[in-house]
């Protein structure tokens, strides 16, 4: 997937009304500097034109959160020891179990029983710590833009699903996000 396709896919999942803007916004984000800062520009009375308050889109906020959490994501995706666990995550996300438990979904997931094996799923401690780290980082960045916790959870699940589903291409995408500031 190209970066534009990544942006469009993420927008389709979390903010469909931003799909049209997605290619321009990802280009501005990757360009960094003034162009990236403009995505988060404060809305003054003139540009607001009609209503007060900032009007930053969801997509730039998610891209920003992903850029912050990117090293942790890349580490977990590229680690061979977490291969089996990654498969389990992908399966769980794919069958949509997680979506019905958006609040506190992560702890639910880690404590769930592996239905096929009938055993308690054992999470390697280092993997648990890394996933926890990613969730915390994403949450912190999303909450900084005053998003509701339920919305943060939904975004969290969605981007994890997308990134783990396309884990090979995800590394390149995440690297692009972090290339410039």
């Amino acid at each position: 997937m190209t970066v534009e396709e990544w942006a469009v896919t993420i927008a389709e999942e979390i903010a469909p009304e931003e799909v049209e803007d997605a290619p321009e916004q990802i280009a501005a984000f990757i360009a960094g500097g003034k162009q990236r800062r403009e995505l988060f520009a404060r809305t003054n009375a003139q540009v607001g034109g009609f209503i007060s308050g900032d009007m930053i889109g969801i997509l730039p906020i998610v891209l920003n959160a992903l850029a912050i959490a990117a090293p942790a994501f890349i580490a977990i995706i590229s680690s061979e020891t977490t291969g089996k666990f990654l498969e389990a995550i992908k399966n769980a996300l794919a069958i949509g179990e997680v979506f019905s438990k958006s609040n506190g979904w992560f702890s639910w997931f880690l404590n769930r029983k592996d239905k096929s094996a009938g055993e308690i799923f054992v999470v390697p401690p280092d993997v648990y710590a890394r996933l926890n780290d990613i969730t915390a980082k994403l949450n912190k960045e999303l909450r900084a833009f005053k998003l509701e916790q339920s919305e943060c959870d939904k975004i969290n699940v969605t981007v994890m699903n997308l990134l783990f589903k396309h884990d090979r291409e995800a590394t390149e995408f995440l690297n692009k996000l972090t290339e410039k500031k």
Partner: protein, 493 residues
């Protein structure tokens, strides 16, 4: 649905008279008085400098940092100065357009995007000639800016395109609001509006710093003087002890210094409050004009029931929380949401007359604010009265008689203003189409009220019948303003 020819656009309701332009003309005609006030301030400053020089001739160390007080002589004229500068920007719309497009990185949007085509078509239906420029990487909505004397552009940002996708009717209502600004010539006032905002934002802080610095310097010098006096008294007491005379009682210097320093800062506080009230008085008229234009733009959707409902919905939408400081500046440019909803909801009742009277009411509100200022400054409240050189004792009787006299002077100094306002209210229903034609480059579509239905019979608009029925509201507003004119004429004699 009838297809509308390119050179004909849908009619807007008559709405509120262009008070912004009225005030601009009156302000310009009043410029000789403004210049005279500046000259008076300059003369006061000269007298102050001369006085300082005389004091310095007697005791060179007695005065310092007096230059901190110089700008305070012109504080009353500050807004007038910047408004004149702002009004010049009306004459240079091309320069304004150049600046705005550079500042917001606005470009012509690609016609390949579906939403752009839809937005452009909608705009062309209601305002042929209004072109779109965009920046979809910047958060924001839409605004109209001038690109010539009878030409304008509409700037579209990412927030607006999101709304276009999520709630089409609300987005169209917002566009109608902006289009109304263009058709009524409000776009040309973008420059003065920005300069007014910048003046309040930066110069308010500058003046506050000046006042505080001046008070701190005064307090520091006072403490220094008391220390010198204290040391002198101690020396006298020492000499007294040596010659065997009775020791003079030692005063509580700390208490004395504290009382004087508190007096200085109380004076500073009251001076700042008085200045703030004066500033509010200076801002009442420009804000009333801006708000009138905004209410009018909201009112432009009142003939379209679906858009009216959508606009009310949009005005009720919870906003992201912003600081009090940012909210204050937003309120300068846009009336509070509750008030906007109130007037939009009652666009077909006598409350509409109240909306028409926003400017004449602001004239009266300004007089009330000036009364508060007079009360504060000239009737013995703290340092403000000292600064103004007022020494007479305050009594309620003298205050009330001065209040009545000041009201009489304010109302009767130019009674013809009230007649003009009344005439504008009455004549606006007839003049509006010519007004719009002028600001939109002479395009048709700004039709006589009676022919609206015959031109666009199938369009979802109830323009003509509603405009006719609203005439009574204009008549009521004109009558009330006319009544003030008669009162002013009678009271003058």
């Amino acid at each position: 649905m009838k297809t509308i020819a390119d050179d004909v656009c849908q009619p807007l309701p008559v709405g509120v008279p262009p008070w912004m332009w009225y005030w601009c003309v009156m302000f310009t005609l009043n410029l000789p008085v403004t210049f005279a006030a500046w000259f008076d301030s300059y003369e006061s400053l000269q007298r102050y400098i001369k006085g300082i020089e005389q004091v310095r001739a007697i005791n060179p160390d007695s005065v310092a940092f007096e230059f901190l007080n110089y700008p305070t002589f012109f504080i009353g004229n500050l807004f007038g100065l910047f408004l004149i500068f702002g009004l010049f920007t009306i004459l240079l719309p091309h320069l304004r357009s150049f600046y705005i497009e550079r500042y917001y990185d606005l470009v012509s949007p690609p016609e390949t995007k579906q939403s752009i085509v839809e937005i452009r078509d909608f705009v062309r239906t209601h305002a042929p000639g209004l072109e779109i420029k965009s920046n979809f990487t910047r958060p924001g909505f839409v605004f109209v800016y001038p690109s010539g004397y009878s030409k304008a552009m509409i700037a579209v940002f990412s927030g607006f395109r999101r709304l276009w996708r999520k709630d089409r009717e609300a987005a169209e209502a917002v566009l109608l609001h902006e289009i109304a600004h263009y058709r009524r010539g409000d776009a040309l006032f973008l420059g003065p509006g920005s300069i007014l905002e910048a003046t309040i934002k930066y110069f308010t802080l500058f003046i506050l710093i000046l006042y505080i610095l001046s008070a701190v310097v005064q307090a520091a010098r006072l403490v220094e003087t008391f220390q010198e006096m204290n040391s002198f008294r101690q020396q006298i007491n020492e000499i007294g002890k040596q010659v065997g005379t009775e020791e003079s009682p030692s005063p509580n210097y700390l208490l004395e210094v504290s009382i004087y320093v508190i007096t200085i800062f109380w004076g500073l506080f009251t001076t700042i409050i008085a200045w703030l009230i004066r500033t509010v008085a200076s801002l009442v008229m420009p804000i009333a004009c801006i708000w009138a234009a905004e209410f009018n733009a909201d009112f432009s959707v009142s003939n379209y029931p679906k858009h009216k409902a959508a606009l009310l919905r949009e005005l009720m939408r919870p906003k992201t929380k912003v600081s009090l400081y940012r909210r204050f500046f937003f309120k300068l440019a846009h009336p509070p949401g509750n008030l906007r909803r109130f007037f939009l909801k009652h666009s077909d009742s006598y409350i509409f007359s109240l909306l028409l009277l926003i400017f004449p009411l602001a004239v009266l509100i300004r007089i009330v604010v000036l009364h508060v200022w007079v009360f504060f400054v000239y009737n013995g409240i703290g340092g403000a009265s000292v600064l103004a050189g007022q020494t007479t004792e305050f009594t309620w009787q003298s205050y009330l008689s001065s209040l009545i006299e000041n009201t009489r002077i304010a109302l009767t100094s130019n009674p013809w203003d009230w007649l003009l306002m009344s005439g504008l209210l009455l004549g606006w229903t007839f003049a509006v189409r010519h007004w719009e034609r002028f600001f939109t480059g002479g395009r048709r579509g700004f039709l006589p009220i009676a022919s609206e239905e015959s031109i666009a019979p199938n369009i979802d608009v109830k323009g003509s019948s509603q405009s006719k029925s609203r005439f009574k509201y204009y008549a009521l507003a004109a009558s009330l303003t006319g009544l003030v004119f008669i009162i002013a004429l009678v009271w003058r004699d």
